[in-house]
């Protein structure tokens, strides 16, 4: 039996955002938009879903009189990402089972 993939993370844009945030300490909304090539509206909706799930923190502030949104992954988000990758791994291993590794034995033994 396979564990279901986390539906919050199993979405292209949300997974892209989480994958970016897991690699950095924090990132601005514009950075996430540039790297994912998403539209501002769509990215905003997906960020809200991640925030509601408790996977990211979103800090809204002003910088030089312009609104600035900073996103940061939470410990729950790191845990969910880790689980997601493990589940993915088990799916892929099942689909493409590798040949069992033959241990080299010493002929002299």
């Amino acid at each position: 039996m396979f564990k279901d993939l986390d539906p919050i993370l199993h979405s292209q844009l949300r997974l892209a955002v989480i994958s970016l945030l897991i690699s950095v300490k924090e990132a601005e909304f514009t950075f996430l938009k540039d790297k994912t090539n998403a539209t501002a509206g769509n990215l905003s909706v997906q960020i809200n879903k991640l925030k509601e799930a408790g996977y990211i923190d979103v800090i809204k502030q002003f910088k030089e009189n312009y609104p600035q949104t900073i996103c940061r992954i939470t410990p729950a988000g790191v845990h969910a990402f880790d689980d997601y990758v493990k589940t993915l791994n088990s799916y892929i291993t099942h689909q493409h089972p590798e040949k069992p590794v033959q241990k080299k034995t010493d002929p002299s033994l």
């Binding site: 993939l5 292209q12 970016l20 300490k25 924090e26 997601y84 799916y91």
Partner: protein, 199 residues
């Protein structure tokens, strides 16, 4: 990015590509290496000229140039932080490293002001070496690591020389540890920016 059903393989590819994109987000830290490299290089040569050629008793005044470095670093750091869209763990760790080295540098200066400056050069070279080695390994940039090795070697050599030669070896140390790696780091950053724009 479109929302559609995608396979576990697609998920893995997406994760890999996003992590690679985030890894390519390296800040241009060459400014600090070049700024401090040139300032220490110029101050060392100026002190040597004032002491050895001009026989000035005020040769140590050349080091007041470092105040300009502190002001320029604070100004640049303040403006650079405002422009940054992302903060990486490596950048944060390196900030703490260089702050701790700066404090140690200042405390060494305080101690040498009390005990005498005759043997200060090897200690400063060792501080450059620590900063360069850790930065080089963290940024995976070997010229900084080789700069650190040069500082370690020059620190040992300078313990066998007189004060005037120590000044020149100090200039050589920053040339190897800051100026050359600084230029190469700037070149690498520009190439990365160019590659990102092309892709």
């Amino acid at each position: 990015m479109e929302e559609e059903k995608f396979s576990p393989e697609d998920s893995f590819r997406l994760i890999q590509s996003m992590i690679a994109k985030a890894k390519n987000t390296v800040a241009d830290d060459s400014f600090y290496f070049l700024l401090w490299g040139w300032l220490v290089f110029i101050a060392s040569l100026a002190q040597w000229v004032m002491k050895v050629i001009l026989h000035s008793p005020y040769h140590y005044m050349a080091w007041w140039l470092m105040v300009a470095g502190v002001v320029a670093s604070i100004w640049y750091g303040y403006h650079d932080n405002r422009k940054k869209k992302v903060k990486t763990y490596v950048e944060e760790m390196l900030d703490y490293l260089w702050i701790s080295l700066f404090v140690t540098y200042m405390l060494f200066s305080f101690i040498f002001a009390k005990t005498g400056w005759e043997n200060c050069s090897p200690f400063y070279m060792l501080l450059y070496a620590i900063g360069n080695f850790v930065s080089g390994r963290a940024l995976k940039f070997s010229p900084l690591v080789w700069g650190a090795v040069a500082c370690w070697v020059l620190a040992v050599i300078s313990t066998f020389t007189d004060f005037d030669t120590k000044i020149l070896l100090g200039a050589l140390a920053v040339f190897c540890s800051n100026i050359i790696p600084g230029f190469l780091l700037k070149k690498k950053y520009r190439k990365m920016q160019f590659d990102v724009q092309r892709s």
